[in-house]
């Protein structure tokens, strides 16, 4: 038997290299770009489009000029360097006016204030966004509205301090009454108490404290805010205020109480049925007619309030979607544990509903942040249209077209892309299912 066995392979053959055309770039291209006549045609068309774009945009970008004092000077430099008829980007405008795009007309010697406010904003946001940080840092978050306001607008420090004390009043009333009256009633009484505090005691307290300990920095008028500073102020305030408001509205809409439900539905549907520009015009124009001429109802505050309402209505619907996606068993389990309504919401329902709603919430926020440019229509200096119009009104830069849009667009992209990445990270981190 053994003689008949001429050859026995006692080891595996090494794998053959795939035939040419089945490996490396050639295979990748065939599979991904030229897998059929239709896809090949589309690939070629796409390539043509890319080449066409590059041919038109690249020379323009390559011929960028950073040092010039006017558009005509830019054009002159481009002609001298790259010959007659050459076109190029004139970034010299950005170089001269970047501070207006970032800060509007905020006094230049006080740029450190918005800068510091931005830094503190990150410090305040960090414990909210990243749960690994120590919980004590939440105090920075709680105090940030007052510090941020004071840094940006200036004036006496006691105004924001006394305003914050209103929240302390709210909290005190709430904690004292809550065991006896329950959450909604004690919260309502707390809000009323805080409102009384702000209306009746705010001004005299501020004046009294100011005369006792005069601590003030130079005040900056709202009208001096502009550019990305304005977008941030409106965007950040509206985003942080609209989330709790949206949660309450979403719960209100699912409530069994007729009045609460009707009011929530009415609010959400009304706000969602009206374009944001209409609300901005209401803030800027209509309110002026209802208020006495000398009232100092700040335009930015008016805009923030209405933008917050607008965002809250959308957030409410997004969160309602999250609530609807929760299985009934979760509600029943919460009931079975003997939790009351607010405990169930806080411990069982909301953490899950919010997790489901993260993509929707973040895209609402991104949309809201970009919508802040609409304030240009009520005469505020948003970075896209307002500041650009001012730059173009300068005879030196009149006729500049793409550069301001590209500059503002690039900054918006960076910020919105950052938000979107964070939301993806958060989704991955909170992922508990095993799908």
């Amino acid at each position: 038997m053994q003689e008949q066995l001429v050859f026995v392979r006692n080891q595996m053959l090494p794998p053959e290299a795939p035939p040419p055309g089945q490996k490396g770039i050639a295979r990748w291209m065939r599979e991904n770009l030229f897998s059929g006549p239709m896809n090949s045609a589309l690939t070629l068309l796409g390539l043509l489009a890319v080449v066409w774009l590059a041919l038109h945009v690249l020379p323009w970008l390559m011929h960028s000029v950073w040092n010039a004092n006017s558009l005509n000077e830019c054009r002159q430099i481009i002609q001298d360097r790259w010959g007659e008829g050459a076109t190029g980007a004139c970034w010299a405008m950005v170089r001269e006016r970047w501070h207006q795009y970032l800060y509007g007309f905020y006094p230049q010697d006080m740029y450190w204030r918005p800068n510091l406010a931005l830094l503190l904003l990150f410090a305040a946001l960090a414990p909210v966004l990243f749960s690994s940080l120590p919980r004590k840092m939440l105090w920075i978050t709680a105090l940030y509205p007052a510090t941020g306001f004071w840094l940006l607008w200036g004036g006496t420090i006691w105004a924001p301090v006394v305003a914050m004390m209103g929240f302390v009043v709210l909290w005190l009333v709430f904690t004292v009454l809550q065991p006896r009256l329950g959450v909604p009633v004690s919260a309502g009484i707390g809000v009323v108490a805080a409102a009384v505090w702000w209306m009746v005691l705010q001004a005299p307290m501020t004046d009294a404290l100011q005369s006792l300990a005069p601590l003030r920095i130079r005040a900056v008028d709202s009208r001096d805010f502009g550019g990305f500073l304005l977008s941030f102020v409106i965007g950040v305030t509206a985003i942080s205020a609209s989330l709790p408001m949206g949660i309450l509205l979403a719960l209100g809409r699912k409530s069994d109480m007729l009045l609460v439900r009707t009011l929530s539905v009415g609010f959400i549907e009304f706000i969602r049925g009206v374009p944001l520009i209409t609300l901005l015009f209401t803030a800027s124009l209509l309110l002026q007619y209802f208020l006495p001429p000398e009232t100092n109802f700040d335009i930015i505050l008016r805009v923030i309030i209405l933008v917050t309402f607008f965002a809250a209505a959308y957030i409410a619907e997004v969160i309602r979607g999250g609530l609807a996606a929760l299985p009934r068993g979760q509600y029943e389990a919460a009931d079975a544990l003997g939790l009351d309504y607010w405990q169930a919401q806080r411990l069982i329902i909301m953490p899950q509903a919010l997790k489901i709603s993260i993509p929707g919430i973040v895209s609402s926020f991104i949309g809201l942040f970009k919508d802040t440019t609409l304030v240009a229509f009520v005469g505020l200096n948003d970075p896209l249209k307002g500041i650009t119009q001012i730059v173009r009104a300068d005879i030196n830069w009149k006729g500049i077209y793409w550069e301001p849009y590209i500059f503002a667009g690039a900054l918006f992209f960076l910020i919105c892309f950052g938000m979107s990445r964070y939301s993806m990270w958060l989704e991955r981190k909170l992922k508990t299912d095993h799908r």
């Binding site: 207006q100 209306m199 208020l291 006495p292 200096n381 307002g386 300068d394 005879i395 009149k398 077209y401």
Partner: protein
């Protein structure tokens, strides 16, 4: 701020009427600051510069007014207003005076209840074409494509003009001036139409200005001027006569440089009254004697303001045209100071 929010909301209904008629002059004096509604940005007429300081032909009027009323041309708070918000800002009392290249029309004067106190710039709608189109008159534009800002009176004027001359045109609508200029340069339209002052500014900023001409026809009347609310005539008088003081100063050769000298040496009784050397015109307005002198010293006379912001010495290079003094064939004419 919080306080005023709540108080404002509460007292809104009660205070809605009647307040707007109150004396603006006293408000301005009490506040120590003039609130001036200006354009969000119009070349030469009103826009903040790189340092955020408002400059321009209309802005000079605000400064003159602040100098006359408050004695300091820098005590102005500028509120930028858009085409949509400007009239509400004035009507609601958010601004004291609106100097924002607004055309004086019947409806705005009567129906919107404003007073146009004077005309500081006589504008009109014109056309710009490329030289190689071979057109020398707007009447030869039959069949042309025209870039036009949508939703403006210029759109209506254009339709009227072509209908009246029995011509046809294809409109290319654009959203604002920068887009119009861009479309026109890109060849999307044969002609670009807007106010002649705007055309001149656009042309000045073009890479090949010499290849573009502004046609001689002016197809509409656009008298632009400062306006105030109806019913506060004292304040209206202050604005009106501050403006006329600037015009009269040009007529009598009083300017920023020589004003002190003229005030001390002039023999002309009208100039003496104007500069407060004689008479008490200022007191009659509710101001002091030297109101007009301060206004002129702060911004110069009408001719100086024109030349510094939009005149032939600037890149915009507007000719005086209708805005020359009446003695030089224009329409700027100040009533007598007596």
């Amino acid at each position: 701020m919080k306080k005023s929010v709540f108080l404002g909301t509460l007292s809104a209904a009660a205070l809605i009427a009647g307040i707007a008629g109150a004396a603006t002059l006293d408000d301005v004096k009490g506040r120590g600051e003039l609130i001036c509604g200006v354009n969000t940005g119009l070349t030469g007429f009103g826009a903040p510069d790189a340092n955020g300081n408002y400059q321009g032909f209309d802005v000079a009027m605000c400064k003159a007014l602040a100098a006359a009323v408050l004695g300091d041309a820098s005590k102005v708070k500028y509120i930028p207003t858009t085409g949509e918000t400007r009239f509400t800002a004035l009507a609601s009392g958010e601004v004291d005076v609106l100097v924002r290249n607004s055309t004086w029309t019947f409806m705005r004067d009567v129906d919107l209840k404003f007073d146009f106190v004077a005309v500081n710039y006589y504008d009109g709608q014109g056309f710009m074409v490329k030289k190689d189109l071979g057109v020398s008159s707007a009447k030869e534009l039959d069949g042309a494509t025209v870039c036009i800002q949508t939703g403006t009176t210029t759109e209506l004027n254009l339709a009227d003009f072509f209908k009246a001359n029995n011509m046809s045109y294809t409109p290319v609508t654009v959203a604002d001036d920068s887009e119009g200029q861009r479309q026109y340069l890109a060849g999307a339209c044969d002609a670009y139409t807007t106010d002649a002052s705007g055309l001149a500014a656009s042309r000045a900023s073009m890479p090949d200005a010499e290849n573009h001409i502004i046609l001689p026809e002016i197809i509409s009347k656009e008298p632009l001027g400062p306006l105030v609310r109806h019913g506060d005539n004292q304040w209206g008088d202050v604005v009106r006569w501050t403006y006329y003081a600037l015009v009269a100063a040009e007529e009598y050769g009083v300017n920023k440089a020589n004003i002190e000298e003229v005030a001390s040496t002039t023999q002309n009784p009208e100039v003496k009254r104007l500069l407060g050397v004689e008479g008490e015109l200022g007191e009659k307005l509710g101001l002091d004697k030297e109101w007009a002198k301060r206004a002129i010293a702060a911004v110069g006379n009408y001719g100086e303001i024109f030349e510094a912001n939009i005149g032939s010495g600037t890149p915009i290079g507007l000719a005086r045209g209708l805005n020359a003094l009446w003695t030089q064939g224009g329409l700027q004419y100040a009533p007598p100071f007596r």
